[in-house]
Amino acid sequence: MTLLVAHGLRKAFGGVEAVVDVGFAVAPGEVVALIGPNGAGKSTCFNMLNGQLAPDGGTIRLGGENIAGRPPRAIARLGVGRTFQITATFASMRVRENVQAALQSFAGKSYGLWRSADTLYRDEALALLARVGMEDQAERPCGTLAYGDLKRVELAVALAGRPRLLLMDEPTAGMAPVERLALMALTASLARREQIGVLFTEHDMDTVFAHADRILVLDRGRLIAEGSPDAVRNDPTVRRVYLGAGTMYGEQA
């Protein structure tokens, strides 16, 4: 059964049609890339999927249930984890505490007034950080981390809710190429092992072609192509859009 089915999604900001009639599906364990030039509507799609924006129209079914228009916290609890294009971590907390805050929230413990939070789910948090290779920075304040490291913390935080679906908006922006491939390799293997569906956006085409099972191409709010990496690479419309937008993409044929 498919995990996520979006159908007829639309969103306009004033006169700008950011997303127009977009529909797609993600299966458990599948890694899907959503690509497109700047301003294509990728982040807007993500924001609708995780509830940050209410769609103007369309449905979003997660495991059969329509979640369109629900608040982000409700959608998160249904098993949708997300990372943000502009990294959003809790800057005043240590790396470990970022993950702990998420774990405590998902466990419904956020209204605990008395017990110390310091030890609650500490080991679980460290384990999640180990997964993304951040265990040795667990005690650093998030405000002092390098950009690439913040991205990894975000992934650990997103994983804290044991998501069925991971939405990753430019998860590797600001990372060095090697790091970038490594992080996506990690994500892809996690997805396959734990049957998590992953939808990610990415401007670096090497990363996209190396790890995506399927690619969706968005341009000016519309889905213009969809298919396997090879099919998309050779799609003339996609080529035109990308060349037109002046974005190079790695030809590794």
């Binding site: 995780n50 940050q52 608040p71 982000p72 916290r73 998160a76 609890r77 984890g81 997300r82 943000f84 959003a88 971590t89 809790f90 800057a91 005043s92 907390m93 240590r94 505490e97 702990q100 805050a101 998420a102 405590q104 929230s105 998902f106 413990k109 956020s110 209204y111 605990g112 007034l113 008395w114 017990r115 110390s116 939070a117 310091d118 609650l120 304040p141 405000g143 935080v157 997103a158 804290a160 809710g161």
Partner: protein, 626 residues
């Protein structure tokens, strides 16, 4: 019926006259905020200064001549403008990049200093101003007499609005001001000298405040309480109109002055068998309007959403759980404090009791401001409602003080639950203003509800019987309850709730994405904070034996802010230290000089200027340098 019509018409004209000077102050505040992003707490003080200066200058130039009067008014406004320039150059210029809270604290220090300067030069007596020559009479309108001078004031508002519009839309200078208000990057692109722009805007804003004050001279006596009264009115107008919008300020001033005037005109009206006293609503109505506007149109009537995201949390350092020695050490301090009054020093006993009460008050405020990132400008509401609840249970229900003390946190918490529900829908300066609005509503209800609260006289005879009758025992009970409250709040900060609260402050979007209901968490924080402030208020009532509406006045809220900021928002122990130092200083200086406010103000300024990035920032830099 025609009587009522005439009443309403006269009050309508009164409203227009009132709107003018309100608009002048608010326009200045709004301009300054728009360009410099500083919320100038001292704007009411500048208004007051304008009024006093006008009193003296008119006297100097000659009361009975046209030139003497109008020359005095204008000179007073210019003087205030010049004082604004000095303030900008000496103080504010150094803290444009400092955290918002520090800017507020600095401008509040100016309030204290200006108040004492006025006290020094003009004394504490109310001063009745001269009438304007040639405008001393009244005109007859529908059989009612209406002062000629007020007709002139009615014209002054639109006139200034027009002049400001011309200045902003028809001059090069106006382009810069508007660019600074709407689009910082554009300002940089215009390549203007920011320093001169900021200084000149401060001149203009202060001039308008001074003019607003000076023009009031024939209408209201100069008095020392005007600074806070005017600033809360001006805040309301600016927030209702939209921060940085001059037209909005005008509209809001009209709306609010008219609403007030209408309440006065209607007076007591019988409706459905009961008498509704509209005149008693005058103090509340503006804050009710503001609350409604903020909830329905959070950016004000004509305002635009501004990027105000300079929360305290952005730069906050991690809040680590206390080390192994912290609690034992705190316990030792507590025991020492408990032993201190055994020497039989009554004075020490009272002072220590006050410190305990205000430490809890400050910690409860810090709980919201620090970990919560929710700056409450009206925290005294919860404190004061706690006092009144305890007092009323004690006096009217005849229950013992022990039971009455239970009512205090319940009342504080309930009020915070009610006010907080609205407040958590906003953030930043807007949230602060809404908390202020609610506090003012609470204050005016207490102030006017004579039958229940004793009105301006307050309530007396709050001396507990039984075990708490003994003052030392009462002190110990206070100490235990306050320390217990502080202990609880500190634990909560380090509990999962505290983590969720900090998460909501640091990054609300992310917090929601991990399932945290940020509004609900902040709402609960409000309730907890209010409950402990209420407890502090209850303890205060029985320590003093009497309470008055001052327990929930703006001044008390500001005291709380000063305590927290003095000690530092970044640490948990800071507010306790701040409360102790503040309370002691206030007491110590007040006993030795009349001018304790100015001394406190200068101390705060020195602190702010020495550590423009906050004490936490200073410590960080020290550590970085080491």
């Amino acid at each position: 019926m025609s009587d009522l019509f005439a009443d309403i018409l006269i009050q309508f004209l009164n409203g227009l006259a009132g709107a003018s000077s309100l608009f002048l102050v608010a326009a200045g505040l709004s301009l300054i905020f728009g360009v410099t992003r500083i919320v100038n707490f001292a704007h009411g003080a500048l208004f007051m200064l304008g009024l006093y200066l006008a009193w003296s200058l008119i006297d100097l130039f000659g009361r009975s001549t046209l030139l003497g009067f109008w020359g005095g008014v204008l000179a007073a406004a210019l003087c205030v403008g010049a004082i604004g320039v000095v303030i900008e150059i000496v103080v504010l210029r150094r803290i444009y990049k400092a955290p918002e809270l520090f800017q507020l604290l600095a401008t509040f220090a100016l309030v204290l200093i200006i108040k004492d300067a006025v006290l020094f030069f003009w004394g504490a007596e109310e001063l009745l101003g001269p009438r304007a020559p040639g405008l001393r009479g009244a005109v007859e309108i529908f059989g009612r007499r209406f002062p000629e001078y007020d007709l002139l004031l009615i014209a002054a508002g639109p006139l200034v609005l027009g002049l400001l519009w011309l200045l902003l839309h028809r001059t090069r200078y106006g382009i810069f001001v508007r660019a600074a208000t709407q689009d910082r990057e554009m300002l940089a692109a215009l390549g203007t000298d920011e320093r001169r722009l900021f200084t000149s805007v401060f001149f203009l804003g202060a001039f308008l405040a001074g003019l607003g004050g000076a023009l009031q001279i024939p209408r209201e006596p100069a008095q020392l309480s005007l600074d806070l009264a005017v600033i809360s009115d001006a805040f309301v107008v600016v927030v209702v109109g939209g921060m940085g919008s001059i037209g909005g300020a005008f509209l809001a001033a009209l709306l609010i002055a008219q609403a007030k005037a209408l309440c006065i005109a209607l007076g007591d009206v019988s409706m459905f068998g009961t008498v509704v006293s509209f005149s008693k609503l005058t103090l509340v109505v503006e804050f009710a309007i503001m609350a409604a506007v903020l909830v329905l149109r959070p950016w004000g009537l004509l305002g635009k959403p501004l990027a105000l995201a300079r929360g305290a949390g952005a730069s906050a350092a991690p809040l680590d759980p206390p080390g192994p020695l912290f609690w034992p050490a705190s316990f030792v301090v507590l025991v020492l404090l408990a032993l201190a009054p055994l020497g039989g020093d009554r004075y020490l006993l009272v002072l220590m009791g006050d410190i305990a009460v205000f430490a809890l008050f400050a910690v409860s405020l810090h709980f919201l401001m620090g970990p919560g990132g929710l700056v409450s400008f009206g925290h005294a509401a919860y404190f004061g409602l706690g006092s009144y609840a305890a007092a009323l249970v004690f006096l009217r229900l005849d229950l013992p003080a022990e039971a009455a003390l239970l009512a205090a946190p319940l009342a504080g918490g309930a009020a915070a639950l009610l006010f907080g529900w609205f407040c958590v829908r906003l953030s930043g300066v807007y949230l602060a203003m809404l908390t202020l609005a609610f506090a003012q509503i609470a204050w005016s209800v207490v102030f006017q509800w004579n039958d229940a609260t004793g009105g301006s006289n307050g309530l007396i005879g709050l001396w507990p019987a039984g075990a708490l009758k003994d003052r030392t025992l009462y002190f110990w009970a206070t100490l235990v309850l306050c320390a217990g409250g502080i202990f609880f709040l500190w634990r909560t900060v380090h509990a999962p709730f505290g983590l969720a609260l900090r998460a909501a402050r640091d990054q609300p979007m992310r917090a929601e994405a991990v399932g945290i209901d940020t509004r609900r968490v902040q709402w609960v924080a409000f309730a907890l904070s209010g409950a402990f402030a209420g407890l502090a208020g209850g303890l205060f009532a029985f320590a003093k034996g009497s309470i008055s509406p001052d327990t929930l006045g703006v001044a008390r809220s500001v005291d709380g802010l000063a305590m927290v900021l003095l000690g530092g928002v970044q640490t948990l122990t800071g507010p306790v230290l701040g409360a102790a130092v503040f309370t002691w200083l206030q007491d110590e200086i007040a006993r030795n000089t009349e001018y304790w406010r100015a001394i406190l103000g200068f101390a705060i300024l020195a602190l702010v200027l020495a550590f423009p990035h906050g004490l936490g920032g200073a410590l960080k830099r020290l550590r970085g340098a080491a």
